[in-house]
Each structure stands twice: as structure tokens, then as C-alpha cells.
């Protein structure tokens, strides 16, 4: 059992939690993830870590409430426990030796992009950041990104926060201004990463993306996280989660990620049905 030491809603559907997990905190590096089970009946789900503090033994996770497991998890409060929490998993993001990087975060993906931006900044890399959201209510980590970035743009689909448009509009603007990056790092919805990669391919900018497929064990045992990267099958859990953005088959990943959507809906219905019954 792992105790939740702090909990905060960053926006109506995004939750930040601190978990007491000293073994994981001692080793965690940006880009790595954990697998957790919210309770004894729960499914194992992967979540990329947003921060870690080895001294306090704390790991921070930031997640969007999208399905059954994140709904259950979001219902837990500080002081309560989650059943299982294991990691750190996956290869850390490659951050050494980069002079200038553009970090792009989309939605809750900003929670994973931020520790990478922060680490790069600490290493003396010139960091440009672009973060994008659907609207003002969903914006997270704006101040944090600003603090570690020498150039920064906030984008929103409807223009209610920052500039109106997509992260790709901002990135193209930066590139047309003459910015050249050792790497563009894009973390967010698969569709966003797909279009960032398409754009950077056009401009010949090396791009790294962070993959978020369905997983069970996170150690290479089940193979459910397999992706096609440059025509080769890769396991996101042990070969990634970071991959060359120009080689990933995004369409295949989107299809694989939708594999259990019906089951997920059925679970959620049962959960809300149950809650309604309790409410009466």
C-alpha cells in the first residue's frame, strides 16, 4: 500500500497527487513512468511521473480523469492509500549534450513535458516551450514552464488563453523566425505528436515523442505496448517510452489505444450506477 500525501485539482479534470514511494523516488528520472493499481480490484495502468523528491520519498503524478481507473484514483484523498505503485519504468529521456531544445506539451502531456524542460534548463540547455490546451480552464503549469524557458508560448484552441491556435502553429512560427533546435520534444495527445512530427519532418528538425500505449506489467512481459517504429516492432515499456517522432506509426497507436473503449464505458457506467444507488 502506498500513501497519498497530497492531492490537488489543477483543473476540473486534471489531478496532481504526491505518493509516498521511497524506492521509486530514489531512482526516478524525467521521462520514466510508474504502473499503479488504485485499489485491489483495479487494472494496472501506466502513468509518467511529473516529479520526484528522493529526500522526502515522494513521487508526483499528474493525470487526467479519462476512464475507470483514473476516476477511481481521483476519488482518493490525501492520507488514503493506493494499492500498488511500481517503478521507475522505461528509459529516461535523453537530456545530456543538448544545446537548444523546443519542448512542446499538449494538455495533460505538459505534466510529463515539464520535468524534461526543467531538467534541460538545469543542465544549461536553452529551452523554448510551447504548451497548448483546448481553453483557459484547462491550462496547467504555465508559470512553471515560463520559469525554465527562454522563449515561451501558450496556445489555446479557442484563444481564451495565450494565443489562438495549435502548438504546431507556434512551432512553425519559431522555426520561421530562424530558430534551430538540436531536438524538438513533443509530449501530448497522439494526434498532436503526429502533427508536430509531420511539421518538423518538413523542416528537418529532429523530434522525440513520448508514447503512451496500453500496458500491463511495464517490464516487457506482455507486449501489449508494442508499436511500429520505422517498420520494426518496439515495446514502449522497455525500448521507450521516448522514440524518434519521424519513425512512429501514429495511426496504428491510435487504433491500439482505442481497443478497450467499450469495456471502459461499461465499467464507468457500473461505477456511476453504483454511486447513484449509494446516493439514494
Amino acid at each position: 500500500m502506498f500513501q497519498i500525501t497530497a492531492k490537488e485539482f489543477l483543473n476540473p479534470t486534471v489531478v496532481k497527487m504526491s505518493i509516498h514511494a521511497p524506492d521509486v523516488a530514489a531512482k526516478a528520472q524525467p521521462g520514466q513512468f510508474v504502473i499503479l493499481r488504485a485499489d485491489g480490484e483495479g487494472e494496472r495502468i501506466p502513468l509518467t511521473m511529473a516529479d520526484s523528491d528522493p529526500d522526502k520519498g515522494a513521487v508526483t503524478i499528474i493525470f487526467q480523469i479519462v476512464g475507470m481507473e483514473t476516476t477511481v484514483l481521483s476519488g482518493k484523498n490525501a492520507g488514503e492509500f493506493i494499492e500498488d505503485f511500481v517503478g521507475p519504468l522505461g528509459m529516461p529521456s535523453h537530456v545530456e549534450g543538448l544545446k537548444k531544445v523546443c519542448v512542446i506539451g499538449g494538455g495533460v502531456g505538459c505534466a510529463i513535458a515539464y520535468p524534461v524542460a526543467k531538467k534541460l534548463h538545469e543542465l544549461g540547455t536553452a529551452v523554448h516551450s510551447i504548451i497548448g490546451f483546448r481553453n483557459k480552464e484547462l491550462v496547467i503549469l504555465e508559470d512553471e514552464f515560463r520559469a525554465v524557458s527562454s522563449r515561451f508560448l501558450l496556445m489555446s484552441d479557442d484563444g481564451s488563453a495565450g494565443e489562438k491556435g495549435l502548438v504546431t502553429n507556434a512551432l512553425e512560427k519559431f522555426i520561421l523566425d530562424g530558430e534551430k533546435y538540436d531536438e524538438v520534444i513533443a509530449i501530448g495527445p497522439v494526434i498532436m505528436m503526429k502533427f508536430v512530427a509531420a511539421l518538423t519532418k518538413k523542416y528537418g528538425q529532429k523530434t522525440v515523442v513520448s508514447m503512451n500505449p496500453i500496458m500491463i506489467d511495464g517490464t516487457g512481459m506482455c507486449g501489449s505496448c508494442r508499436l511500429l517504429v520505422g517498420g520494426e516492432v518496439k515495446f514502449a515499456c522497455v525500448d521507450g517510452p521516448d522514440f524518434d517522432g519521424h519513425l512512429v506509426d501514429y495511426d496504428l497507436l491510435m487504433k491500439r489505444n482505442s481497443m478497450y473503449r467499450e469495456h471502459e464505458q461499461a465499467c464507468l457506467c457500473r461505477l456511476t450506477g453504483k454511486e447513484a444507488a449509494v446516493g439514494k
Partner: protein, 461 residues
């Protein structure tokens, strides 16, 4: 009075129709009368060739004699002195190629049902008081993985007074016994009971601990463990490398079985999903393929096993093949998959195959399957489960200095008799060394390693 019957006393089983409607255990086990009847078939022959066939050296005629005498507790004492997990072994050991293969009664008729008797004794004494915890000897040993080899090694060492900690990557202990072997072959309550025995001996199991990630072998030594046993199994699934293997509805057997067994996806309200396909193809012919096929059958599918050689070469236990057939699973033999086709949304619709014929024996000694020109055909299916083997996970070897692996990723032993790896103080056994094999071989390796670790640590004094 000896029982001269040429055949084993039949073991009661669920009927095929009952089986495919549930995950209840298929073989129900002997009654005391049936056990006595079968025990009476044992001649207690002087040579006892059966014992040589047992990787952990169970004194078979001795424990069977106790059953003949009606002394089940006495039988259990003899059995458990060599085998700490008899209720598991009685169910999943391939006795037909081990102890029973050497039984004198088998020369004319069927051998004595050693496995069935082992299971009977173990089940009858599941509630027996646990063995007394031996006095601590002040030495600490770390075990990586809580599968058959790790549990056996842990039990042996704990019995000698070692302080043993098992590090398990998953959230539940048991390794392949809980994620791989299905409930209907090995009920998880049985595994839990056998784990209790180890806990009584003082063995501590730390779940959610991935050696190679959460902590390393070097850190285990730094924490004061004097020796490490690696029993991390063969967890890396193989795929065929044919087009279409990433489509929705293609599973490794590991994933399929883990969802169903460990995560209980067969239960109606399970939060872990598994595809409820109407038609499933399982590729492969081993025990894992049979397990996957029989699971698929139980969650409502019509199942076809696709295997590239003939029935004679199927590596699965005869009993498993027999059960699979009884349950209506179709065997498509001399058939090799070429490609998986999907619909526009990426869901599997078709397995394109070709017919094979057998040629000269290959390096493995089995006849090499050769494609028959122009024989391509399609099997309509929504789900394909790849059960074509596993290799060891590289997480430990990649993060541990001085550990050599061979071409197949298996840990290399510097001293095979001692199960010693290429690094001092680090021992290994089970599938991590051999590649995918059996529960009992892994247990034998765990036992040997425990003796070596004991010698090693005592020798340092």
C-alpha cells in the same frame, strides 16, 4: 493386497460441457478410497527407478506406502521433506516424462499415478500445522522472482535458518503460477496456501519490486544480502515477425493469460478487459498454447490451434491436448501463419496461412516443416494469440555487472552443478537460465541453488 489393474484409477473430472462454462478446476482429485486403490498399484520395488525421474528427489515409494497404510500425514511428511509445493507439482508436473516414465508398472500397462497421489496427499494436508520456523542463522539471502524456482530456493534456505526476502515485480506473488497457468489447471487458492507455508518459515515477499529497475543486484549486496538467487523466469514473449502482428486482437500468450489469470478478466465485473472474440486462433503447440486456447474457449470463443508440425510433435502434455480436444478446440496441424489481415479500423479479421509438410529432422531433432507451394488459405478470426515461446527478460542482465548471457538471452552458468552465474555470490535457475521449461525443472534448480548458496555462505565463515 496389491492392485493388479493395468490402468490408473481414473481421477474424477468435470464434464467438458461443464468446464467450458467456468474456470473451475477440471480434475477433481482422488477420494481417500480412490487414492488407496491407486497407491496399491505401487509395488514399492527395491530399485525405485521413479525417484531418479524426480528433479527434486521425492521419495516416491515411501510416501505411497504411507498412503497404502492410511497414514496420510506420514505421507505428507515424506513428500514435503523434499518438495515444499506438492499441491502445485501434483497438478502441473509432467509426470509422464519424469517419475511415471520410469515406473516398472508402466512397462506393461499404465504407470502408477504418482502425480495424482502427490496431489491427494498435498490437498488432504493443506490445513496441517505449518512447519516450525527454524532458529535464525543470521545470514540474509535475496531471491529475485516469486515463481517456482524462487519459491523453492527461498523455502529451502528459510528451512536452514536464513533470512530470505523475495523481490517480485508484479503486485502478486507466484510468478507463472499466478499469471500464466490458468485457474482451471491450478486454482490460485492452492498457490496462496503453499505461499503461506513459506511465510510461516519467515520468508518475506516484497511485491512491486523490479530488480533491474526499482533496485539492482549491486544494491541488494549493499543492503547486506550475502547471496542473490535470480529466478526471474522467461518473461519476454516472442512474435513470429509476420505482417499484421500489431493489429487489435493480436496478443502474446503472456498478455492474454495475464489479463485472464492474474487480472481475472474472465469475471463479469473485472476492470481489466480482454477481447471477447467469437473466433480465436492460437498459434503454437505447447502447454502455454493449450492454456490460452482453453481460456479462450471458456470466455466463449470457437478456438483453433494452429501448429506447423503434426500432432506427434506437439510439445504440450498429452493430458492438456486431450482436455483441449474434449473441450471442442480444433487443431489445425501442418499449418503455418503468413500474415494477419485487419479491417479498416485495425481489428483482426483473418489469419492467412499455408500448409506444411514434414521434411528431414532439424537441429532440434524434430522433423523440419516445409511449406507446400500454392497452399495458402485463410482462417477467419477476430483474435490471434501467439504462443510460440518466451525468452528471459534482459532487465537484470543489462543492469548487473559481471552477469553473462548467451545468444538467447539466458543467464550463463559458470558452474552448472552449483547454479552459479558468472558473478560470485549470484546464483540463478529456472527459465532465466534454461529458457521456457517446466515448473518442476525450475524447482529442481532452485533447490540445487539453495544448497550451493548455503555452502557458499557457510564457507565464508
Amino acid at each position: 493386497m496389491a492392485n493388479k489393474s493395468l490402468v490408473k484409477t481414473p481421477i474424477p473430472e468435470l464434464l467438458p460441457d461443464e468446464r467450458i462454462a467456468s474456470f473451475s478446476e477440471v480434475a477433481l482429485g482422488y477420494t481417500p478410497e480412490q487414492a488407496k486403490e491407486e497407491a496399491d498399484r505401487c509395488l514399492s520395488c527395491k530399485k525405485s527407478p521413479c525417484v531418479a525421474g524426480c528433479p527434486v528427489g521425492v521419495q516416491i515409494p515411501e510416501f505411497i506406502t504411507k498412503i497404502q497404510e492410511g497414514d496420510i500425514e506420514g505421507a505428507a511428511d515424506i513428500l514435503k521433506s523434499k518438495n515444499l509445493l506438492p499441491a502445485i507439482c501434483g497438478r502441473v508436473c509432467p509426470q509422464e516424462t519424469q517419475c511415471e516414465a520410469l515406473c516398472l508398472r508402466g512397462k506393461k500397462g499404465e504407470p502408477v499415478g504418482v502425480g495424482r497421489l502427490e496431489r491427494f496427499v498435498a490437498d488432504q494436508t493443506l490445513d496441517a500445522p505449518p512447519p516450525a520456523k527454524p532458529p535464525a542463522n543470521g545470514h540474509k539471502v535475496a531471491i529475485v522472482g516469486s515463481g517456482p524456482s524462487g519459491l523453492t530456493c527461498a523455502g529451502e534456505l528459510a528451512s536452514k535458518g536464513y533470512e530470505v526476502t523475495i523481490f517480485e515485480a508484479l503486485h502478486k506473488a507466484g510468478g507463472v503460477l499466478v499469471y500464466g497457468i490458468p485457474e482451471f489447471r491450478l486454482p490460485k487458492s492452492i498457490v496462496a496456501r503453499e505461499l503461506k507455508t513459506l511465510e510461516h518459515l519467515g520468508v518475506v515477499i516484497k511485491t512491486n519490486s523490479i530488480v533491474g529497475r526499482t533496485l539492482t543486484v549491486d544494491e541488494l549486496f549493499a543492503q547486506g544480502f550475502e547471496a542473490v538467487f535470480i529466478g526471474s523466469g522467461a518473461g519476454l514473449p516472442s512474435f513470429l515477425g509476420i505482417p499484421g502482428e500489431a493489429f487489435n486482437g493480436v496478443y502474446s500468450a503472456n498478455e492474454y493469460l495475464t489479463r485472464i489469470n492474474l487480472m481475472k478478466a474472465y469475471e463479469k465485473d473485472s476492470r481489466t478487459p480482454v477481447q471477447r472474440a467469437k473466433k480465436v486462433c492460437v498459434v503454437g503447440g505447447g502447454n502455454v498454447a493449450m492454456d490460452a486456447a482453453r481460456c479462450a474457449r471458456r470466455i466463449g470463443a470457437e478456438v483453433t490451434i494452429v501448429y506447423r508440425r503434426t500432432e506427434k510433435e506437439l510439445p504440450a502434455r498429452l493430458e492438456e491436448i486431450h482436455h483441449a480436444k474434449e473441450e471442442g478446440i480444433v487443431f489445425k496441424l501442418l499449418t503455418n501463419p503468413l500474415r494477419i489481415d485487419a479491417d479498416e479500423n485495425g481489428w483482426v479479421r483473418n489469419l492467412r496461412c499455408q500448409e506444411m509438410k514434414l521434411g528431414e529432422p532439424d537441429a532440434s531433432g524434430r522433423a523440419r516443416p516445409i511449406p507446400v507451394e500454392g497452399s495458402e488459405f485463410d482462417i477467419e478470426t477476430e483474435c490471434v494469440v501467439m504462443a510460440i515461446g518466451n525468452s528471459p527478460n534482459p532487465l537484470i542482465s543489462q543492469t548487473t555487472r559481471g552477469l553473462e548471457v548467451n545468444r538467447r538471452g539466458c543467464l550463463v552458468l559458470a558452474d552448472e552443478d552449483k547454479m552459479l552465474t558468472t558473478r560470485a555470490g549470484v546464483y540463478a535457475g529456472g527459465d532465466a537460465v534454461t529458457g521456457a521449461a517446466t515448473v518442476i525443472l525450475a524447482m529442481g534448480a532452485g533447490k540445487t541453488a539453495a544448497c550451493s548458496i548455503d555452502e557458499y555462505i557457510q564457507g565464508k565463515q
